[in-house]
Amino acid sequence: MAGWEQVLDELVRTRGAALVRYATLLTGDARAGEDLVQDALVRCFGSGRTLRETEAAEAYVRRAVLTIFLDGHRRRQRWTARLHLVARDEATAGHEPGVALRQDVRAALLTLRPRLRACVVLRFYDDLTVPEIARRLELSDGTVKRYLADAIALLERVLGPIDDVHSMDVQLTGGRS
């Protein structure tokens, strides 16, 4: 087995499902998320570039997922897969958020426009700063701040108050609704 196949095999075995769930945050549909990850894997591993470490490869693939999503290469979004918006269970301190809460958040993300969704995922999953998001999405810092503020306001309408987002490392404009 070639070196790239070993890395690919390891990546898909250990992080494949997580990558699909990451892509699904963006697409809103698991099947479309899977398609998106497949395209990203082909782009990253088919380029001939040397990917030796699984961790680095995952970051590279995640970046490709976002790029392909935003570039609009994947048009087959399945909007029929909308989930119920409010089915929250208890999220007790010290425990990981429950399945229903995760589904609520995923469903709420679907109410956002794609670029707002991308900003939220980059900020709250990838833990990027506003300038980093702006560079990644080729937007101004101010636009990213506005998008995040709008997105948070929209999410809070569905999910209720969100912790700490108004005391982030950036001053969000617009505030909560």
């Binding site: 790239w4 196949e5 690919l8 095999d9 898909v12 499902a17 997580a18 990558l19 699909v20 769930r21 699904t24 945050l25 698991a30 099947r31 998320g33 899977e34 990850v37 497949q38 894997l41 082909v42 782009r43 591993f45 088919g46 380029s47 001939g48 570039r49 040397t50 990917l51 680095a56 590279y60 970046r63 490709a64 790029t67 609009g72 290469h73 048009r75 087959r76 999220a91 990981e96 958020p97 399945v99 809460l101 995760r102 958040v105 426009r113 794609p114 939220v120 709250f124 999953y125 080729e138 937007l139 101004s140 101010g142 636009t143 999410l155 999910l159 209720g160 108050p161 969100i162 912790d163």
Partner: protein, 413 residues
Amino acid sequence: MTLDLSRTLHAAVDLADDDSPGLDLGPVTARIRRRRHVRTGVRAGVGVAAAGAVALTASHLTQPATVAGLPAARADAEAGECGSDIALLDRPASPGAGLLDTLVEDANRTTVPRAGGHLGTYVGSWLTVQAVEDAASSPAGSEARIAALRARLAADQQKVTALQADGASADALAAARHQVDLDDAALTSALEAAAEAPDGVATNLRLYVTHRGTVVATDPLASEHAVPLWQNTDAGLTGVQIDQPLVTCDTPGAVGGEPLPAGTYDVYVGYGTAAADATPVAVAGPWHVTVAHPSTSGADLPVAFPRAMPLIGGRVDSVSPLDGGGWLVNVATDAADAAAAAGQLLTPVADASTVLPRLPHGREADPLEHPVAVRLADGSTWTVTVEPFQARDGSPSLVYRITPRISSDDAGS
């Protein structure tokens, strides 16, 4: 109770749900192998060229044109398939279809592409063209429109930022923000319309490289990475930038992927409206392209020069040592793809751990945009930059600046 969004998103991705989808590795691996197969063929050719560069042979061209290195004509091949007769694609495209570089005005003063032109000499592994067609009939129209709307939105956002920085009046700022909102709405509307379009309505162009009428190079995957363009001309042309690997295609029983032998070829653009890999319904062309595999000749390289360094083929006009170590090398080349070919040559030896963060979106090493960290087989590490240069006699060349890297810790500096 408040929601911890970051923690919940991390859980949503990193904790498995019962319904977590699996990822079928088989089809992915097959697609990757196919793509790498094409690129490996390219790289093998590059390796030969690089070896020639080190040998500094007196000859300028390594291989004469040889039909033996090309896919054979197949009478049973379907239209557009490798080895098929290009004449089988007998439906001409609309007058507005063709290559952007060849636009002319016709008798009706309409801008149209004109077939028959020479696209230049290519020494690298890719032929990059900008193919256009009538916007009204273009399946790429929505993609191009979205790209144009994105560009307009970005420009208007920058205006707002500039106004804020300049302390503009509230009215001016409000007007600029209103324009951004309008742009945003238009883009959102276009994206939603594109998302709801039926499958297969996407950029769907394909290049055919032929030799004596036989298709010898074509890539059904090329349209996957086509870049939408928006040509706001009077003719209303739209189109895409598309890359075609200059390697042989596959025929039954004969795996391709080999660099096209040096020589002159015809290039056609196929236009389709169905799925990306479907047979095109119309074709425009031909244009002509010359493929060359020059080795490096001219000045002697110093003994201390890193001989494994892959330089573009051509006449070495000068090699000068740099203060503090390293070399300045000037290679004369009139190749249309000189800069891209230089990047392609460096990509296989680029130090991935250093290059990856600098080159997002899967781009190849581009020494014109970024210094490229290079690690050679002997373990030596170098920083390479390349700049186009016009020699005194007007001939074009590339100037390589090659400096040693002190240690791997310095690779990212």
